[in-house]
Amino acid sequence: MGEIWYRFRKNKLALFGFSVLLVFIILALAAPIIAPYDPFQMSTGETLQSPNSAHIFGTDQFGRDILSRIIHGTRISFKVGIISVGISLVVGVAMGICAGYFGGWIDIIISRIIDIMFSFPDIFLALVIMAILGTSLTNVMIAIGIVYTPIFARIARGSTLTVKDNAYIEAARSIGVGDLMTIIRHILPNILAPLIVQITLSFGFAIRSEAALSFLGLGVEPDVPSWGIMLNEGKDWMELAWWVSVFPGLAATLAILSFNVLGDGLRDALDPKLKNESE
């Protein structure tokens, strides 16, 4: 553990990503305290104001403070990240471990399901699922969760296959440890490293997907201050007010970038052999 932390700490870019994410987390947790204005508060006298001392990032077409909406949008993005990645992780890892551990027809069925799910470009599948479920924050999280499930399933299956023939697994089974216990006690802890990296990278995917779905009008409800909704509304006012589209996109890019560099840093720290590949 100490060695991993040492390797991670040496990676300046990963540390930068980690620090930026910490700031985002603080913003998300303390949004109502930190945000200078109520993100829903409209002000007819202050519509489309360019960045100024009262509104650092300007105001939108309803006179709402963009900075406050971005800060509250952090909550939405991180909530989507946590829940959708949680769904993909739990379902995907369960599928992947079952396929890798039990093999045979279970593996064949699960692997084919994974292959078929992989045949759909992610944003396209998410759009179809959103058409079925209807636009809402909960449904966005479910749709993104389903879309990224096969990635986790494939990683968990591959890692389980390499781990399951190890002597300690055979030893556990020979003394009568049951399948469930073997999986929880011996398989899961040994396939964690690639999963942790994937969790980090998937947060970035989830934030981007939510923004894309909301941007297309098939994401969260229009009154939710999500970065994607802000971009969707901003594009109609671009000619008059660049700030309405620029700042929410900048926030999304910064968050995704931070998750990407953190993911790369974690991969290097957890598995130095892969360092070359991730560079």
């Binding site: 759909f120 470009p121 179809v128």
Partner: protein
Amino acid sequence: MLKYVVKRILMAIPILIGISVIAFFLIRLVPGDTVTALLGVNYNEEQALILRAKYGLDKPLVVQYFIWLKNVVAGDFGNSFFTKEPVLSAIADRLPVTLQLMFMSFLYSIFIAIPLGTIAAIKRNSAIDYGASFLGLLGVSVPNFWLGTLFILFFSLNLKWFPSGGFISFLEDPVQNLRYMIMPSVALGTAVGAVVMRMTRSSMLEVLGQDYIKMAEAKGVTDRRLIFNHALKNSFIPVVTVLGIQMGYLLGGSVVIEKIFSLPGVGQLSLQAITNRDYALMQGCILLVASGFVIINLLVDIIYAFLNPKIRY
């Protein structure tokens, strides 16, 4: 080799069947069927029953699936419930736009990514390398729809270099066509370019560390020959795989990009089908996009096997 190709094609068949099952049944889960959407506020039970019978929507789902599959195999994807236009011709009309968008994004990404990735690897830890790595990270992180929005803001609204949206066919006016397609292609291709650049760099670094490269260097092979004749070809193998995966991204990403730049492609058509709950059109689009992705992957695997004869699954 032929045996491998045949085996790989046979492996794609169950996946294509799975896609057809999903394309058909997923759409059936959409709340409110086409008849409800068609009738809108004029909905009444009697008329709905007549229309359902007319479109075969009153039959059991499994029966509907097999009728649909039989027709699809015969090349009949049905008609759009809204425009009455045959689905296949609606898709065929829009496909050239999406294919051009994908092709231009692809070209842009490899023309930038492969030289940049190669130079970054050769000049490891130099300013060029750091710059390229930073651009790569930024490229994978920036959402394509935001990049598209920024392009419109700067290059259309401020500088007035390119039109902000719309389309003119290449056959009609090639120059205008390119003016309309440049911004969408760059917005879509940037992320792909970034991934390919990162892959080229890491793959090149790995190859440059191999013994046969050191051997060639020791024999006095010039740098140019070393890169072009020895390193580049071998470092291409993982790059080809990544490119194949990224083609799927281009296909999916075209939905968003076509919407921003008002391009009349398959992405816009899919979005329109989803919004209108146009069953036949949605099924056609899903089937086309997913099958297109499977076929691209199939081709990538075959190219991969050609490039690396050691690989036979």
